[in-house]
């Protein structure tokens, strides 16, 4: 059996099979989404009428606003998540193993719950005194933070594992206070991981629907909520166009973040 793997023709077949599977699961839906975004009417195998109407609609109105709301929510939530998750991971270094496991559980618990449950929990918690946040943008951001902080925590923990333990010790012996060692040694070396955590958090936040739909105020409709609303009332192609725009915005921001990586690592 193992000999089969080394035969060129077998490997070629395996490659084609993998490519076909990938195309079917990822490529085809994406291609259809792109096509639907410029479709006016679709009666056969391919669109009957092509149009840029839905794309133009993205530049203003509710759909344009929802894109901006998603980007703003994603940036704010990712930043807060990196601060909370990264800070927690740094603090976890010095904790005894038992406490560290407890902290892990605390951070990872939200990703084991349905996002709608997180939304519901926040809605119930902050719809009564003493803290009233019902119907505010802050509650939407808070929900996103709860849902993505685990990834920031995990990314930072992974980064910390790669750092030689002696770096901060040596910095201390050279006269650096803990704060200076953290600022000038640890954080610059963790920057790629923090950046990756920010990017992942942003991507997740851009696509978040379950919790947001329970919490969003009327003046802060995010793009996924808008997509849901458009498709719910039968405007499928407008929803597809907004979905593509959401994808493009996420990709653009991730690209910009990726370009920052070498700059951060430069001394």
């Amino acid at each position: 059996m193992s000999m089969l793997v080394y035969r060129p023709c077998t490997r070629q077949v395996a490659r084609l099979a993998a490519l076909g599977l990938f195309g079917l699961i990822f490529g085809l839906p994406l291609a259809i989404l792109l096509l639907a975004a410029v479709t006016g009417q679709w009666n056969g195998v391919l669109p009957t009428i092509l149009t840029l109407r839905h794309v133009r609609a993205l530049l203003g109105g509710d759909q344009g606003a929802s894109l901006w709301h998603s980007i703003a929510t994603g940036l704010a939530a990712s930043l807060i998540a990196v601060l909370l998750g990264g800070g927690g991971a740094l603090a976890a270094r010095d904790l005894p193993a038992g406490f560290r496991r407890g902290l892990d559980a605390l951070y990872f618990l939200p990703i084991a719950l349905p996002s709608a449950s997180i939304g519901l929990a926040l809605l119930i918690t902050f719809s009564q005194p003493p803290i009233l946040l019902n119907g505010t943008v802050a509650l939407v951001v808070m929900a996103h933070v709860v849902l993505i902080t685990a990834y920031a925590y995990a990314n930072t923990r992974a980064g910390i594992e790669t750092l030689p333990a002696e770096l901060e010790d040596v910095a201390g012996s050279l006269g650096a206070s803990q704060w200076l060692a953290l600022r000038s040694i640890t954080l610059p070396l963790l920057a790629p991981y923090l950046l990756a955590a920010f990017a992942l958090g942003f991507a997740l936040s851009m696509g978040e629907l379950g919790a947001t739909i329970m919490l969003y105020p009327p003046q802060w409709v995010t793009a996924p909520v808008q997509v849901f609303a458009l498709t719910d009332r039968g405007d499928i192609y407008a929803g597809a166009a907004l979905g593509v725009a959401l994808l493009a915005c996420t990709f653009l921001v991730l690209l910009l973040l990726n370009r920052q990586k070498p700059r951060i690592l430069r001394p």
Binding site: E166, D169, V170, A171, G172, S173, G175, A176, S177
Partner: protein, 387 residues
């Protein structure tokens, strides 16, 4: 390094400390650069250091030698401030630093894997400590250049650590530690990640460096006895969180106090003997019915644990001669011979006891199975306690 005698620490009534050579030199009132008094360290409940007392004089090079887990690095980390003793006191130049954080202690430290800051260039690594101390930029530039020149790395100032070889990285690490002009330099197995020729070269450089900075105290951790012999004014042999033996390299080599020291420090043949007589200088022992004269053990009258222990004759392989005609002679059967370049290593047996003999590689060793008379000079052998 200098041929300094072991330093003894005695606290006087006035609180001053007397440092004196064990070789008979009159004690001199000097504040030790490093003083550990009854220092114990616990790791997760286990005792990693057990009541360590140590005084290091200005300019002294002390080597902490021992196997992994013996506590040698723990001493270093306690001095640097990375560990807080569960009891005891640590002083640097007379100042109690037991509760001070590492950055307030002013000691330089070099660790096994160099720990250069990978995102900073060589010059920035070396200048890090000076920047942390907020020195003027001009001073930093000048000092960095001087330190890099000191270790022969001046032309690599703009490189990143990953662009350097292991030996070059270690030189930079040493320059970085010296840049802050520390009175104490702690070296934690600094050469163990390097290959043998590079290690020998860097050892020479550390010796030369100390010759240029004679007041610098170096505490050097290693498990390599050759490094310890080459560098140390004094060697502390560690075992289970305690100092098992201490002395000059020569004293530890020639007269190890017990089996552990003899086995760890230099290869030794340890043969069980019966102690028949002993005076201040010589002892008479019996080995397989043959009476032998050896150097009297210094511990015999002073070490309570040793008094009850059966002594072992400690014979270094190179101290044994073949076809001997001197005072100490005994027959041995040759089991095997191995040519190892500079020496012929001979495996032999005296009765049931096996031993190794090293003779020059240029000589022809006796044939396996033959019986030869071997011998040694009384001052080339000693008795050690079986501890």
């Amino acid at each position: 390094m200098t041929d300094a005698s072991p330093v003894a620490l005695t606290r006087t009534a006035s609180g001053a400390e007397l440092i004196g050579g064990a070789g008979g030199a009159a004690p001199v009132a000097v504040t030790p650069r490093i003083a550990l008094e009854g220092v114990s360290v616990r790791y997760h409940g286990a005792l990693a250091l057990d009541s360590i007392n140590l005084a290091v004089a200005p300019g002294e090079v002390v080597v902490l030698l021992g196997p992994s887990g013996s506590g040698k690095s723990t001493i270093l980390r306690a001095i640097a401030g990375f560990l807080t003793p569960s009891q005891g006191r640590i002083s640097l130049a007379g100042r109690d630093v037991t509760d001070l954080p590492p950055h307030a202690r002013g000691v330089g430290m070099v660790v096994q894997n160099y720990a250069l800051f990978p995102h900073l260039r060589v010059a920035e690594n070396v200048g890090f400590g000076l920047r942390a101390r907020r020195r003027p930029v001009a001073d930093i530039t000048e000092r960095v250049a001087a330190c890099l020149d000191m270790v022969g790395m001046g032309r690599f100032a703009d490189r990143l650590p990953r662009e350097l070889s292991g030996g070059q990285q270690q030189r930079v690490a040493i320059a970085r530690a010296l840049a802050i002009d520390p009175p104490v330099l702690l070296l934690d197995e600094p050469l163990s990640a390097l290959d043998a020729p590079l290690r020998a070269g860097l050892l020479e450089e550390i010796r030369a460096l100390h010759a240029r900075l004679p007041d610098l105290v170096i505490v050097y951790v290693t498990h390599d006895q050759n490094e310890a012999i080459a560098l140390g004014d004094r060697i502390l042999l560690m075992r289970d969180g305690r100092i098992a033996a201490e002395g000059t390299p020569r004293a530890l080599h020639d007269t190890p106090p017990h089996r552990y020291a003899a086995e760890f420090f230099g290869q030794a043949n340890l043969l069980p003997v019966q102690l028949d007589a002993c005076d201040a200088e010589l002892a008479i022992v019996t080995l397989e019915g043959q009476r032998l004269t050896v150097r009297a053990p210094a511990w015999h009258a002073s070490d309570d644990r040793a008094l009850g222990a059966r002594p072992l004759l400690c014979l270094r392989p190179h101290a044994i001669t073949l076809n001997a005609t001197g005072l100490n002679r005994i027959e041995a059967r040759i089991l095997a011979t191995h040519w190892m370049g500079a020496v012929n290593r001979i495996e032999a047996a005296i009765g049931p006891h096996r031993l190794r003999i090293d003779v020059p590689g240029s000589t022809t060793p006796p044939a396996p199975g033959s019986v030869v008379t071997i011998g040694f000079e009384p001052d080339q052998a000693c008795l050690v306690a079986d501890l």
